[in-house]
Symmetry: C2
Subunit: 362 residues, 2 copies
DNA sequence: TTGTAGGCGTTATCAT
DNA sequence: ATGATAACGCCTACAA
């Protein structure tokens, strides 16, 4: 009574063979109405639920997708996961969530395990410096499709869903330049991460186009988190001449910059302008509200899961590299230098006088 | 060559029986050194990984934990999930993540599925208004342990790990009262949610102790999200006399209040003070930084997973109800009314003059 | 149309 | 100490 009901019990109750039960469940052969009714009744009254384990063993695949990410606690990733889960759910697939903390070893462990579990496919945001290809081809050649999300490991040639990082960063830098800034600094992410590199490239392209040069100490590497962003900002803000604008390659680091600014009693945007990347919800609530490059984690996750499911269903064409669009969201953290004294103060800000003084003193 | 290697292949390669292979893998019988070496060599060279599916089928349980939550996109939950995953991982368990969107039907579906998957146990943050007990006892009596996290459905008598919501809210209200506020308003969460009710109770207890009464329209119900918090704040801030302080029963709603305040050109904390609950990271970066009741989602998830694993290992004693502590984190969103003109301005704030004027005009 | 039986990869029992 | 063998619950030829 405490054990789950099996097809055998259904068969007994309905006075048919176990094969017949299977047939009515899977519609794999036509069964006389009378028997079918009996089976269905038995299923209902006994509360039968097929064992996903047995099915998986028999069919050599499950309805599970492995989702491997660095850390669900990083506010950019929940959206990705949710997007993936939603499309997985709609297709009767489930997600097993794996946090790697950017440790390639943990990633490799998870990959191996998910394969031995016959996950139908893998969605992976690779760890910094991971050699995904090696992990995948180790042991037996992959039978499960894999799509990379958010960033690709070096030399990845398989499916991927990312965002146009280069263009997003380019727009951010261009905005700063158009606002009159000439002393731009950038806080990049880990040099091992494809998306960090792309963003840096986009940033540099904008400078090049504007015939602006950048001192090497004005590009500081950090780890895509608040703490290291704060530290990088501290280094930057001590330099002379000080940069008048900083592009932080993600919002978490931008938050760190804000913190450093505050601590040094520098004002944003009057003393230094700031642009982030990701457009986290927190951007609306920071002081000042943070201008940032929007990217949709949700869409990324959803698109990746969609592609993965197509592969699972057998789609065979060439690997796809999908790059979603970004969009610069203007808020309050960038000040126009060229025209600072012509900016009409739309509604009288309480700090307007102080601000003007500060700017003039620059 | 593309198929996973099984124990049978190991047995052949090592020239032993399949049973022997099983024995060396599981240490379930002592095997002569020579044979054992051969088997281990075969395992290594063929890259054997046991099929979790077959194991699960045979043993009638897997190393999977089901984690059912409302929405990973809500910034309080990732910490919970991460805490759970960390302790699960350390014990070789994995997490399958399920988002219910607070829909009892979706919750019921997931519960049933996870059981048919022979998940070893379930960690559940119940949906608002879910009848978990019914879901669990439907069909076959539960064989998998379940622990409720963050909040319990009505009448839940099983294991649970929550936070002392009543006390947390009490401290928040008391802080407001000690700061001289007499016109307090509260924005509560959904009346169906145990934690929302407890927080409201704590709030009311503080008022009672201070012999303060509260007009019924000063307690507004919202949905624990920013939008509804914003709307509730709008209602509140239109009333006359206006509350001088608002306790928002979570930080998301507090964010909504901040937004409403800004829109109505009211200042926080000069015009209205605000306390939130959760102490999300965003509290540090809002304008002004938000005073909030800290609770550790991570600890909650970790404790819940720990308890669940004990149950899985067979722990049999009475159901536990673990309530973690909260702690009020003071920031800048509360102003002391009684002593407003005596507050020393520690370091000269740029807005201090304006602030003082505003307060005097109150 | 329906039933029988083999096998998916393990673990565990029982002989040997 | 080791090997054969029977399940676990399901799917699917193939036979009837």
């Amino acid at each position: 009574m405490s054990d789950p009901v099996t097809m055998r019990q259904i068969a007994e109750r309905a006075q048919v063979s176990i094969g017949t039960v299977s047939h009515v469940i899977n519609g794999t052969a036509r069964v006389r109405t009378k028997l079918r009714m009996r089976v269905q009744e038995a299923i209902r009254s006994l509360g039968f639920q097929p064992s996903a384990l047995a099915q998986g063993l028999r069919l050599n695949r499950t309805k599970m997708l492995g989702m491997i990410i660095p850390d669900i606690t990083n506010p950019f990733f929940p959206g990705v996961v949710r997007g993936a889960e939603d499309v997985a759910f709609r297709n009767s697939y489930r997600l097993v969530l794996c946090n790697t903390d950017n440790e390639p070893a943990k990633e490799a462990l998870y990959v191996a395990e998910l394969r031995s579990f016959r996950a139908a496919g893998l969605l992976i945001i690779p760890a910094a410096g991971s050699d995904l290809r090696a992990e995948l081809s180790s042991g037996t050649p992959a039978t499960q499709p894999v799509v990379c999300v958010d960033r690709c490991p070096e030399g990845w040639t398989g499916d991927a869903v990312v965002v146009d990082n280069e263009e997003g960063a380019y727009q951010a830098a261009k905005h700063l330049i158009r606002s009159g800034h000439r002393h731009l600094a950038v806080i990049t992410g880990p040099a091992l991460l494809a998306n960090a590199i792309e963003r840096l490239n986009g940033f540099k392209r904008a400078l090049r186009e504007a015939r602006l040069s950048i001192a090497s100490e004005f590009v500081q590497e950090a780890a895509f988190d608040t703490r290291s962003g704060y530290q990088a900002a501290k280094r930057l803000l001590r330099m002379l001449p000080r940069p008048t604008a900083i592009f932080a390659c993600n919002d978490l680091m931008a938050l760190g910059v804000l913190h450093a600014l505050h601590e040094l009693d520098l004002r944003c945007p009057e003393d230094v302008s700031l642009v982030g990347f990701d457009n986290l919800e927190v951007c609306e609530y920071t002081n000042p509200a943070l201008t940032s490059v929007y990217q949709s984690g949700y869409q990324m996750g959803a698109a990746a899961a969609g592609l993965l499911l197509e592969r699972i269903k057998g789609l065979q064409d060439a690997p796809r590299h999908i790059a979603l669009e970004t969009e610069l969201k203007l808020r309050k953290s960038v000040m126009s230098i060229a025209n600072f004294d012509k900016i009409p103060s739309k509604k009288p800000r309480r700090r307007s006088k102080a601000n003007r003084e500060a700017v003039l003193a620059d």
